[in-house]
Amino acid sequence: MPDQNMLLLTIVTESVLEDTLIDEIMALGARGYTITDARGRGTHGLRSGRWSVSSNIKIEVVGDAALVQRIVERLQAQYERDYGLLMFTCPVELQN
Protein backbone atom coordinates (compact mmCIF):
# COMPACT_ATOMS: atom_id res chain seq x y z
CA MET A 1 0.00 0.00 0.00
CA PRO A 2 1.48 3.35 -0.95
CA ASP A 3 2.07 5.78 1.86
CA GLN A 4 1.30 9.27 0.68
CA ASN A 5 0.21 11.33 3.64
CA MET A 6 -2.25 13.97 2.61
CA LEU A 7 -5.11 15.93 4.06
CA LEU A 8 -8.75 15.69 3.13
CA LEU A 9 -10.35 19.12 3.34
CA THR A 10 -14.14 19.04 3.61
CA ILE A 11 -16.04 22.26 2.89
CA VAL A 12 -19.79 22.51 3.47
CA THR A 13 -21.28 25.70 2.07
CA GLU A 14 -24.12 27.23 0.05
CA SER A 15 -24.79 25.80 -3.43
CA VAL A 16 -24.82 29.26 -4.92
CA LEU A 17 -21.03 29.42 -4.38
CA GLU A 18 -20.27 26.27 -6.38
CA ASP A 19 -18.82 27.85 -9.51
CA THR A 20 -16.99 30.57 -7.59
CA LEU A 21 -15.34 28.23 -5.13
CA ILE A 22 -14.33 25.77 -7.81
CA ASP A 23 -12.49 28.55 -9.60
CA GLU A 24 -10.78 29.59 -6.36
CA ILE A 25 -9.78 26.05 -5.44
CA MET A 26 -8.35 25.21 -8.83
CA ALA A 27 -6.54 28.56 -9.00
CA LEU A 28 -4.92 27.82 -5.64
CA GLY A 29 -3.37 24.69 -7.09
CA ALA A 30 -5.70 21.77 -6.32
CA ARG A 31 -5.42 18.86 -8.72
CA GLY A 32 -9.03 17.92 -8.28
CA TYR A 33 -12.12 18.11 -6.14
CA THR A 34 -15.31 16.13 -5.51
CA ILE A 35 -18.74 17.66 -4.91
CA THR A 36 -21.92 16.16 -3.48
CA ASP A 37 -25.27 17.84 -2.88
CA ALA A 38 -26.19 18.28 0.77
CA ARG A 39 -28.58 19.88 3.19
CA GLY A 40 -28.19 20.70 6.85
CA ARG A 41 -28.29 23.15 9.68
CA GLY A 42 -25.74 25.40 11.31
CA THR A 43 -25.32 28.90 12.64
CA HIS A 44 -27.01 30.25 9.51
CA GLY A 45 -30.12 28.23 10.23
CA LEU A 46 -31.85 25.43 8.32
CA ARG A 47 -30.80 24.72 4.75
CA SER A 48 -33.50 22.34 3.61
CA GLY A 49 -32.10 21.41 0.21
CA ARG A 50 -35.62 21.79 -1.16
CA TRP A 51 -34.79 24.59 -3.58
CA SER A 52 -31.54 25.96 -4.88
CA VAL A 53 -31.64 29.05 -2.64
CA SER A 54 -31.59 26.78 0.39
CA SER A 55 -29.23 24.00 -0.71
CA ASN A 56 -25.74 23.13 0.41
CA ILE A 57 -22.85 21.42 -1.31
CA LYS A 58 -20.03 19.44 0.19
CA ILE A 59 -16.70 20.00 -1.55
CA GLU A 60 -13.89 17.59 -0.79
CA VAL A 61 -10.30 18.27 -1.75
CA VAL A 62 -7.41 15.91 -1.18
CA GLY A 63 -4.10 17.74 -1.06
CA ASP A 64 -0.99 18.46 0.96
CA ALA A 65 -1.01 20.66 4.04
CA ALA A 66 0.19 23.72 2.16
CA LEU A 67 -2.59 23.61 -0.42
CA VAL A 68 -5.22 23.00 2.23
CA GLN A 69 -3.92 25.96 4.24
CA ARG A 70 -4.06 28.23 1.18
CA ILE A 71 -7.66 27.23 0.48
CA VAL A 72 -8.75 27.57 4.09
CA GLU A 73 -7.21 31.02 4.41
CA ARG A 74 -8.71 32.24 1.19
CA LEU A 75 -12.19 31.01 2.08
CA GLN A 76 -11.99 32.39 5.59
CA ALA A 77 -10.99 35.79 4.27
CA GLN A 78 -13.45 35.93 1.43
CA TYR A 79 -16.59 33.97 2.29
CA GLU A 80 -16.78 33.11 5.97
CA ARG A 81 -18.39 36.36 7.05
CA ASP A 82 -21.27 36.35 4.60
CA TYR A 83 -21.98 32.73 3.80
CA GLY A 84 -22.82 29.54 5.62
CA LEU A 85 -19.48 27.74 5.71
CA LEU A 86 -17.94 24.82 7.57
CA MET A 87 -14.41 23.56 6.94
CA PHE A 88 -12.56 20.73 8.58
CA THR A 89 -9.58 18.54 7.76
CA CYS A 90 -8.56 15.00 8.44
CA PRO A 91 -5.36 13.16 7.49
CA VAL A 92 -5.83 10.53 4.79
CA GLU A 93 -3.61 8.09 2.98
CA LEU A 94 -3.80 8.23 -0.78
CA GLN A 95 -4.14 4.76 -2.29
CA ASN A 96 -3.52 5.51 -5.95
Binding site: E14, V16, T20, D37, G45, L46, S48, G49, R50, W51, S52, V53, S54, S55, Y79, R81, D82, Y83
Partner: protein, 312 residues
Amino acid sequence: MSFEPVVLFFVLGVLAGLLRSDLKIPAAIYEALSIFILLAIGLKGGVELAKYPVASLIGQGLIIVAIGALIPLIAFPILHRLGRLARADAASIAAHYGSVSVVTFSVGLTLLGHEKIDYEGYMIVFLVLLEMPALVIGVLLARWGVGGVRWGKMLHEVFFGKSIYLLVGGLVIGFVAGPEGIKPLDKLFFDLFKGVLALFLLEMGLVASTRIAALREYGAFLAGFAVVMPLISATLGTVAGWLLGLSVGGTFLLATLFASASYIAAPAAMRIAVPEANPALSIGASLGMTFPFNIFLGIPIYLWMARTIHGG
Protein backbone atom coordinates in the same frame (compact mmCIF):
# COMPACT_ATOMS: atom_id res chain seq x y z
CA MET B 1 -64.63 38.36 -5.04
CA SER B 2 -62.78 36.41 -7.69
CA PHE B 3 -61.36 33.06 -6.69
CA GLU B 4 -59.05 30.75 -8.54
CA PRO B 5 -58.89 27.09 -7.49
CA VAL B 6 -55.21 26.83 -8.37
CA VAL B 7 -54.24 28.78 -5.24
CA LEU B 8 -55.63 25.94 -3.14
CA PHE B 9 -52.51 24.00 -4.03
CA PHE B 10 -50.48 26.64 -2.23
CA VAL B 11 -52.63 26.13 0.85
CA LEU B 12 -52.13 22.37 0.56
CA GLY B 13 -48.37 22.91 0.54
CA VAL B 14 -48.36 25.32 3.49
CA LEU B 15 -50.50 22.97 5.56
CA ALA B 16 -48.25 20.03 4.71
CA GLY B 17 -45.31 22.03 6.02
CA LEU B 18 -47.04 23.24 9.15
CA LEU B 19 -48.47 19.80 9.95
CA ARG B 20 -45.05 18.24 9.36
CA SER B 21 -46.31 15.90 6.67
CA ASP B 22 -43.48 13.93 5.06
CA LEU B 23 -44.58 15.26 1.66
CA LYS B 24 -41.49 16.52 -0.15
CA ILE B 25 -41.05 17.64 -3.70
CA PRO B 26 -37.54 16.64 -4.75
CA ALA B 27 -35.19 19.52 -5.55
CA ALA B 28 -34.76 18.22 -9.11
CA ILE B 29 -38.50 18.46 -9.67
CA TYR B 30 -38.59 21.97 -8.26
CA GLU B 31 -35.89 22.94 -10.74
CA ALA B 32 -37.74 21.28 -13.61
CA LEU B 33 -41.04 22.96 -12.75
CA SER B 34 -39.42 26.38 -12.55
CA ILE B 35 -37.57 25.89 -15.84
CA PHE B 36 -40.87 24.90 -17.42
CA ILE B 37 -42.73 27.92 -16.09
CA LEU B 38 -40.03 30.41 -17.07
CA LEU B 39 -39.69 28.98 -20.57
CA ALA B 40 -43.44 28.75 -21.10
CA ILE B 41 -44.02 32.34 -20.02
CA GLY B 42 -41.16 33.49 -22.21
CA LEU B 43 -42.47 31.57 -25.22
CA LYS B 44 -45.97 32.91 -24.70
CA GLY B 45 -44.61 36.43 -24.51
CA GLY B 46 -42.56 35.95 -27.65
CA VAL B 47 -45.52 34.64 -29.59
CA GLU B 48 -47.59 37.63 -28.45
CA LEU B 49 -44.79 40.04 -29.25
CA ALA B 50 -44.68 38.71 -32.79
CA LYS B 51 -48.21 40.03 -33.25
CA TYR B 52 -47.34 43.65 -32.45
CA PRO B 53 -45.08 46.19 -34.14
CA VAL B 54 -42.19 45.97 -31.69
CA ALA B 55 -41.11 49.57 -32.25
CA SER B 56 -44.44 50.84 -30.97
CA LEU B 57 -43.85 49.10 -27.65
CA ILE B 58 -40.45 50.63 -26.95
CA GLY B 59 -41.83 53.90 -25.66
CA GLN B 60 -44.40 52.28 -23.40
CA GLY B 61 -41.80 49.79 -22.22
CA LEU B 62 -39.35 52.52 -21.24
CA ILE B 63 -42.02 54.41 -19.28
CA ILE B 64 -43.09 51.27 -17.44
CA VAL B 65 -39.52 50.35 -16.58
CA ALA B 66 -38.89 53.91 -15.34
CA ILE B 67 -41.97 53.81 -13.11
CA GLY B 68 -41.09 50.31 -11.96
CA ALA B 69 -37.66 51.60 -10.93
CA LEU B 70 -39.37 53.85 -8.42
CA ILE B 71 -40.49 50.87 -6.36
CA PRO B 72 -37.10 49.93 -4.88
CA LEU B 73 -36.39 53.63 -4.39
CA ILE B 74 -39.60 53.95 -2.36
CA ALA B 75 -39.05 50.71 -0.48
CA PHE B 76 -35.45 51.38 0.52
CA PRO B 77 -35.98 54.45 2.73
CA ILE B 78 -39.02 52.81 4.33
CA LEU B 79 -36.90 49.80 5.27
CA HIS B 80 -33.66 51.61 6.12
CA ARG B 81 -34.93 54.78 7.83
CA LEU B 82 -38.29 53.72 9.19
CA GLY B 83 -37.55 50.06 9.81
CA ARG B 84 -33.94 50.65 10.91
CA LEU B 85 -32.79 47.69 8.86
CA ALA B 86 -29.10 47.58 7.91
CA ARG B 87 -28.27 49.20 4.58
CA ALA B 88 -27.52 45.88 2.89
CA ASP B 89 -30.69 44.24 4.16
CA ALA B 90 -32.85 47.19 3.18
CA ALA B 91 -31.28 47.30 -0.27
CA SER B 92 -31.70 43.59 -0.83
CA ILE B 93 -35.35 43.61 0.25
CA ALA B 94 -35.97 46.66 -1.94
CA ALA B 95 -34.54 44.74 -4.89
CA HIS B 96 -36.85 41.80 -4.22
CA TYR B 97 -39.90 44.09 -4.19
CA GLY B 98 -38.78 46.05 -7.21
CA SER B 99 -38.33 42.87 -9.20
CA VAL B 100 -41.29 40.68 -10.10
CA SER B 101 -42.67 37.20 -9.47
CA VAL B 102 -43.43 35.05 -12.47
CA VAL B 103 -45.73 32.81 -10.44
CA THR B 104 -47.79 35.68 -9.03
CA PHE B 105 -48.12 37.01 -12.57
CA SER B 106 -49.19 33.55 -13.75
CA VAL B 107 -51.88 33.36 -11.09
CA GLY B 108 -53.05 36.77 -12.34
CA LEU B 109 -53.15 35.40 -15.88
CA THR B 110 -55.21 32.39 -14.88
CA LEU B 111 -57.65 34.68 -13.09
CA LEU B 112 -58.12 36.71 -16.27
CA GLY B 113 -58.70 33.48 -18.16
CA HIS B 114 -61.18 32.39 -15.53
CA GLU B 115 -63.02 35.72 -15.67
CA LYS B 116 -62.71 35.91 -19.45
CA ILE B 117 -61.08 39.35 -19.39
CA ASP B 118 -58.87 40.38 -22.31
CA TYR B 119 -55.43 41.88 -21.90
CA GLU B 120 -52.56 43.14 -24.01
CA GLY B 121 -50.54 40.02 -24.82
CA TYR B 122 -47.29 41.96 -24.75
CA MET B 123 -47.62 42.47 -20.99
CA ILE B 124 -45.40 39.42 -20.65
CA VAL B 125 -42.62 41.39 -22.30
CA PHE B 126 -42.91 43.94 -19.49
CA LEU B 127 -42.60 41.10 -17.01
CA VAL B 128 -39.22 40.33 -18.52
CA LEU B 129 -38.21 44.00 -18.64
CA LEU B 130 -39.25 44.62 -15.05
CA GLU B 131 -37.34 41.71 -13.61
CA MET B 132 -33.87 43.19 -14.01
CA PRO B 133 -33.58 46.93 -13.24
CA ALA B 134 -34.57 46.62 -9.59
CA LEU B 135 -31.78 44.13 -9.01
CA VAL B 136 -29.21 46.61 -10.32
CA ILE B 137 -30.74 49.41 -8.25
CA GLY B 138 -30.67 47.17 -5.19
CA VAL B 139 -26.94 46.62 -5.57
CA LEU B 140 -26.35 50.35 -6.06
CA LEU B 141 -28.34 51.12 -2.92
CA ALA B 142 -26.36 48.56 -0.94
CA ARG B 143 -23.04 49.95 -2.13
CA TRP B 144 -23.91 53.67 -2.06
CA GLY B 145 -20.97 55.44 -0.46
CA VAL B 146 -19.57 52.08 0.57
CA GLY B 147 -18.06 51.33 -2.79
CA GLY B 148 -16.87 48.05 -4.15
CA VAL B 149 -19.55 46.90 -6.55
CA ARG B 150 -18.24 43.87 -8.39
CA TRP B 151 -20.08 45.01 -11.49
CA GLY B 152 -18.95 42.22 -13.74
CA LYS B 153 -20.07 39.49 -11.42
CA MET B 154 -23.29 41.24 -10.53
CA LEU B 155 -24.42 42.04 -14.05
CA HIS B 156 -23.51 38.54 -15.12
CA GLU B 157 -25.65 37.15 -12.31
CA VAL B 158 -28.54 39.42 -13.25
CA PHE B 159 -28.53 38.81 -16.98
CA PHE B 160 -27.40 35.22 -17.14
CA GLY B 161 -29.09 34.00 -13.99
CA LYS B 162 -31.32 31.13 -15.10
CA SER B 163 -34.50 33.01 -14.42
CA ILE B 164 -33.97 35.94 -16.75
CA TYR B 165 -31.99 33.87 -19.20
CA LEU B 166 -34.91 31.47 -19.71
CA LEU B 167 -37.50 34.22 -19.90
CA VAL B 168 -35.51 36.12 -22.51
CA GLY B 169 -34.54 32.92 -24.32
CA GLY B 170 -38.15 31.80 -24.48
CA LEU B 171 -39.19 35.26 -25.64
CA VAL B 172 -36.71 35.22 -28.51
CA ILE B 173 -37.61 31.68 -29.58
CA GLY B 174 -41.33 32.46 -29.41
CA PHE B 175 -40.79 35.65 -31.39
CA VAL B 176 -38.65 33.98 -34.07
CA ALA B 177 -40.86 30.91 -34.38
CA GLY B 178 -44.15 32.80 -34.26
CA PRO B 179 -47.56 31.31 -33.49
CA GLU B 180 -47.33 28.81 -36.35
CA GLY B 181 -43.81 27.61 -35.64
CA ILE B 182 -44.49 27.16 -31.95
CA LYS B 183 -47.69 25.20 -32.49
CA PRO B 184 -46.31 21.69 -31.95
CA LEU B 185 -44.91 22.85 -28.62
CA ASP B 186 -48.29 24.16 -27.45
CA LYS B 187 -49.33 20.80 -26.09
CA LEU B 188 -46.50 20.86 -23.60
CA PHE B 189 -45.87 24.49 -22.82
CA PHE B 190 -49.34 26.02 -23.02
CA ASP B 191 -51.88 23.24 -22.42
CA LEU B 192 -50.11 21.93 -19.36
CA PHE B 193 -49.20 25.35 -18.00
CA LYS B 194 -51.88 25.62 -15.40
CA GLY B 195 -51.42 22.10 -14.09
CA VAL B 196 -47.70 22.68 -13.72
CA LEU B 197 -48.44 25.97 -11.99
CA ALA B 198 -50.59 24.04 -9.51
CA LEU B 199 -47.71 21.70 -8.71
CA PHE B 200 -45.33 24.64 -8.41
CA LEU B 201 -47.69 26.35 -6.01
CA LEU B 202 -47.79 23.17 -3.94
CA GLU B 203 -44.00 23.31 -3.68
CA MET B 204 -44.05 27.07 -3.01
CA GLY B 205 -46.42 26.38 -0.14
CA LEU B 206 -44.07 23.78 1.28
CA VAL B 207 -41.17 26.21 1.08
CA ALA B 208 -43.18 29.16 2.36
CA SER B 209 -44.28 27.21 5.42
CA THR B 210 -40.65 27.11 6.56
CA ARG B 211 -40.33 30.85 6.01
CA ILE B 212 -43.28 32.01 8.04
CA ALA B 213 -41.46 31.23 11.29
CA ALA B 214 -38.38 33.14 10.10
CA LEU B 215 -40.56 36.12 9.37
CA ARG B 216 -42.10 36.10 12.82
CA GLU B 217 -38.62 36.40 14.28
CA TYR B 218 -38.04 39.69 12.54
CA GLY B 219 -41.08 41.28 13.94
CA ALA B 220 -44.13 43.16 12.99
CA PHE B 221 -42.42 45.84 10.96
CA LEU B 222 -41.29 43.55 8.18
CA ALA B 223 -44.61 41.71 8.14
CA GLY B 224 -46.41 45.02 7.83
CA PHE B 225 -44.09 46.11 5.06
CA ALA B 226 -44.78 42.86 3.21
CA VAL B 227 -48.47 43.73 3.04
CA VAL B 228 -48.39 47.50 2.64
CA MET B 229 -45.65 47.65 0.01
CA PRO B 230 -47.54 45.59 -2.59
CA LEU B 231 -50.56 47.81 -2.10
CA ILE B 232 -48.44 50.91 -2.74
CA SER B 233 -46.84 49.33 -5.80
CA ALA B 234 -50.15 48.10 -7.14
CA THR B 235 -51.62 51.58 -6.83
CA LEU B 236 -48.66 52.92 -8.79
CA GLY B 237 -49.22 50.21 -11.39
CA THR B 238 -52.94 50.82 -11.63
CA VAL B 239 -52.50 54.55 -12.22
CA ALA B 240 -49.64 53.97 -14.65
CA GLY B 241 -51.59 51.41 -16.62
CA TRP B 242 -54.59 53.67 -16.81
CA LEU B 243 -52.54 56.68 -17.92
CA LEU B 244 -50.81 54.55 -20.55
CA GLY B 245 -54.20 53.56 -21.91
CA LEU B 246 -54.01 49.87 -21.08
CA SER B 247 -57.22 47.82 -20.95
CA VAL B 248 -58.69 46.66 -17.64
CA GLY B 249 -56.83 43.35 -18.00
CA GLY B 250 -53.56 45.07 -18.88
CA THR B 251 -53.89 47.56 -16.02
CA PHE B 252 -54.57 44.69 -13.63
CA LEU B 253 -51.54 42.76 -14.85
CA LEU B 254 -49.28 45.80 -14.51
CA ALA B 255 -50.53 46.37 -10.95
CA THR B 256 -49.94 42.69 -10.18
CA LEU B 257 -46.43 42.84 -11.62
CA PHE B 258 -45.56 45.93 -9.60
CA ALA B 259 -47.06 44.43 -6.45
CA SER B 260 -45.32 41.10 -6.79
CA ALA B 261 -41.96 40.43 -5.17
CA SER B 262 -39.32 38.18 -6.68
CA TYR B 263 -38.24 34.97 -5.01
CA ILE B 264 -36.51 33.15 -7.83
CA ALA B 265 -34.28 35.66 -9.63
CA ALA B 266 -33.67 38.14 -6.80
CA PRO B 267 -32.52 35.75 -4.04
CA ALA B 268 -29.91 34.20 -6.31
CA ALA B 269 -28.65 37.53 -7.62
CA MET B 270 -28.59 39.24 -4.22
CA ARG B 271 -26.79 36.31 -2.57
CA ILE B 272 -23.92 36.87 -4.99
CA ALA B 273 -24.01 40.65 -5.32
CA VAL B 274 -24.92 41.69 -1.75
CA PRO B 275 -23.81 38.68 0.28
CA GLU B 276 -23.83 40.53 3.60
CA ALA B 277 -27.62 40.88 3.38
CA ASN B 278 -29.50 38.26 5.37
CA PRO B 279 -31.52 36.19 2.88
CA ALA B 280 -33.92 35.04 5.60
CA LEU B 281 -35.30 38.58 5.76
CA SER B 282 -35.92 39.14 2.07
CA ILE B 283 -37.19 35.63 1.32
CA GLY B 284 -39.23 35.54 4.51
CA ALA B 285 -40.98 38.74 3.51
CA SER B 286 -41.40 38.06 -0.21
CA LEU B 287 -42.27 34.37 -0.12
CA GLY B 288 -43.58 33.96 3.42
CA MET B 289 -45.87 36.96 3.38
CA THR B 290 -46.21 38.96 0.17
CA PHE B 291 -46.67 35.98 -2.12
CA PRO B 292 -49.61 34.47 -0.22
CA PHE B 293 -51.03 37.95 0.41
CA ASN B 294 -50.92 38.65 -3.30
CA ILE B 295 -52.47 35.44 -4.55
CA PHE B 296 -55.27 35.38 -1.98
CA LEU B 297 -56.11 39.01 -1.30
CA GLY B 298 -53.95 41.23 -3.46
CA ILE B 299 -54.94 39.90 -6.85
CA PRO B 300 -58.69 40.28 -6.28
CA ILE B 301 -58.03 43.77 -4.90
CA TYR B 302 -55.91 44.75 -7.91
CA LEU B 303 -58.61 43.53 -10.26
CA TRP B 304 -61.11 45.63 -8.38
CA MET B 305 -58.75 48.60 -8.56
CA ALA B 306 -58.29 48.20 -12.30
CA ARG B 307 -62.03 47.95 -12.85
CA THR B 308 -62.69 50.95 -10.64
CA ILE B 309 -60.16 53.26 -12.30
CA HIS B 310 -61.59 52.29 -15.67
CA GLY B 311 -64.94 53.27 -14.26
CA GLY B 312 -66.29 49.71 -14.47
